[in-house]
């Protein structure tokens, strides 16, 4: 397959079409609008597939809910403020346990914020995508190719677990153009392949009911226990991350998405400077690759989490590391993408001072022994 130049938002849309998505419901919002526009242009070329622009994200997510109940592959996309509106429906989708795929091209917040790339939705996506006890599967690409691959696989993942799968990217991934190898187009599901819970009309069978309502406390607890068991299986089986030069790293960077991409450059620069810096880039943000982080924390001297927010994933990192190594944070907000030089400067500061002694947010050293000293920036190891 030849590489072609694709814009992130359009590439995600095309990947969904090739994965056999049958319906798309959405609402315009920058910086994801090209995804909706691409669907508006392309879906009519596929007979039987549905594109519909909803009157709001509230309506869009409930159209997704309806189509998901009918057992079809369905997609929606939005950006941060729109996702906030969708959380009502997403909670119902999670409670009813029907599969759906959602793309969030994050922008700066809170409120109307701006349309610049941001990672401010980490908490919302991984911890609070609606009321009640649930987590969607959250996948964070750092390149357009990865966004394509994750989107292509997201539908099967959603169907396997009857859950919401979120592709969590930001305005940078959505707007940039990169060379991409597109996966082959799959046919849409046949009637025989439809799930045995799908609402298609009670012909020659008992009627089916899909609801998130369980009035008795015991009944709802049973339902929730089932949901939690499912989430535990997901936590075991669906962890995804990428490591760069972690084998001998003294300082571990942890960053996802666009920040992870920037940190890849930082690792190269640090290595050129003789600093043993490595990168753990979580791809699945929920489930979070906690265990791998624990293993790495045992080996490294300190950890620097870089995010395009005020420090959200860093809390998960600290929880996993649990004091095994000091955890520092560097973040930019409001749509500012941290530059490699800025992050390198933070690393320089960390390696030239004892951990915990820098002027910015640091992790505490919870009695797991004294932080190991890093060599000074100019005192490169032989």
């Amino acid at each position: 397959m030849a590489k072609e130049l694709w814009k992130g938002n359009e590439a995600i849309a095309e990947a969904a079409l090739r994965a056999g998505v049958e319906a798309y419901f959405g609402y315009p919002i920058t910086p994801q609008t090209e995804l909706l526009e691409y669907m508006a242009r392309e879906i009519p070329k596929y007979p039987g597939r549905v594109f519909l622009q909803a009157e709001s994200e509230l309506a869009a997510v409930n159209m997704v809910y309806g189509a998901a109940c009918a057992g079809v592959r369905v997609l929606s996309s939005s950006s941060s403020p729109g996702i906030s509106l969708m959380t009502e429906g997403l909670s119902y989708i999670a409670g009813t346990e029907v599969p759906a795929v959602l793309v969030d091209i994050m922008r700066g917040g809170p409120g109307l914020g701006n349309i610049m790339p941001s990672q401010g939705d980490y908490f919302q996506m991984t911890k609070a995508l609606g009321h009640g006890d649930f987590h969607p599967i959250v996948l964070a690409p750092s390149t357009v190719q990865e966004a394509v691959d994750l989107t292509y696989g997201a539908f099967e993942l959603a169907e396997t677990y009857r859950t919401v799968v979120v592709i969590l990217a930001d305005g940078a991934i959505g707007q940039m153009m990169e060379p991409v190898v597109m996966p082959p187009a799959r046919p849409v599901m046949t009637e025989q392949e439809r799930a045995d819970w799908a609402l298609r009309g009670a012909k020659d069978r008992e009627r089916r009911i899909l609801t998130s309502l369980h009035l008795s406390a015991e009944g709802l607890e049973r339902m929730n226990q089932g949901l939690q068991n499912k989430l535990a299986r997901i936590q075991q089986k669906e962890l995804r991350w990428q490591e760069t030069m972690t084998d001998d790293a003294d300082l571990l960077l942890v960053a996802f998405g666009t920040a992870g991409r920037v940190c890849t450059s930082v690792v190269s620069a640090a290595r050129r400077a003789g600093l043993k810096v490595g990168l753990l880039r979580p791809i699945s943000l929920w489930p979070f690759p906690e265990q791998r982080l624990v293993e790495l924390a045992e080996r490294v001297q300190q950890i620097l989490v870089v995010e395009m927010n005020a420090g959200q994933m860093v809390l998960d990192v600290k929880a996993a590391v649990a004091g095994r190594a000091p955890v520092h944070f560097y973040g930019r907000m409001g749509g500012v993408v941290p530059l490699p030089d800025e992050i390198s400067a933070q690393i320089d500061k960390l390696v030239s001072e004892p951990a915990g002694g820098t002027g910015f947010k640091t992790g505490s050293n919870n009695g797991y022994g004294q932080p190991k000293a890093m060599p000074a920036a100019n005192g490169v190891r032989a």
Binding site: E22, A23, F25, V50, L52, A54, E55, S56, L58, A59, A60, N62, M63, V64, Y65, G66, A67, A68, C69, A70, V72, V74, E88, G89, Y92, T96, L199, R200, G201, A202, K203, D204, R207, R208, I209, L210, T211, S212, L213
Partner: protein, 278 residues
Amino acid sequence: MTPIALADYDVVYRRPDALTDVQTHYCPGCTHGLIHRLIGEVIDELGIRENTICVAPVGCAVFAYNYFNVDGCEAPHGRAPAMATGIKRVIPDRVVFTYQGDGDLAAIGTNEIIHAAGRGEDLTVIFVNNANYGMTGGQMAPTTLAGQVTTSSPYGRDVDLVGMPMRVAELISTIPGASYVVRRSVHNVANINKTKAAIKTAFQVQMAGLGLSMVEVLSSCPTNWHMSADGALKWIEDAMIPVYPLGDYRVADAVEPLTKRRRPDRSQNGSLATIPEE
């Protein structure tokens, strides 16, 4: 005593196949169950039970999916027309209907019903107006009458503060995509029969692909109105109908033929049947 063979009887009344054999949770004297039955009869008569999907609301009818013997689901509060849109668009040859109360459709769900109508979705909406939020214990709804006492308008609905009751059928009838919009009532037998005829037309409008059809049904709520069952029916007639006049608010030209071909026929289970006119 010799038992009389069943064959010796004519069946004049039975549970429609489209209703399940369970007791409903509705309060004594409430007309939700009656409206359910009318829908069940219509689904039977049209032979669409195996092809129909019900979208239940949030409100008193939240368990509607338990009572209709069809595939069913339950929408977030007010979102039934959006959820039904999602279903109908992906399986357009099925019959999809929503069953919504006045809190659900006329308050929190106004956006969804207006735009489903605006798009001319081929959906049937049964809109049950009982002038209050029943499920939560009788609060003021947009349809609550001026001066009507509810738990959230304990001194009576003050129209200076919260405005006049909202007339939904009239509102939706201004939208071209809604091709059949009528208001009926179930306070007496004649009106029950008219309601059933309208529900049947509404489903036929969908089956003919003519756009959104909505039947607003004035319905009683004796519990929250603090009235007897028959007192509540009388209140519909005396207090509600003057504010919510019964009638056909929009019958698109294409729908006209569907409404003119009906006259009472008591030969089938005491129900109305559609008979082509000579």
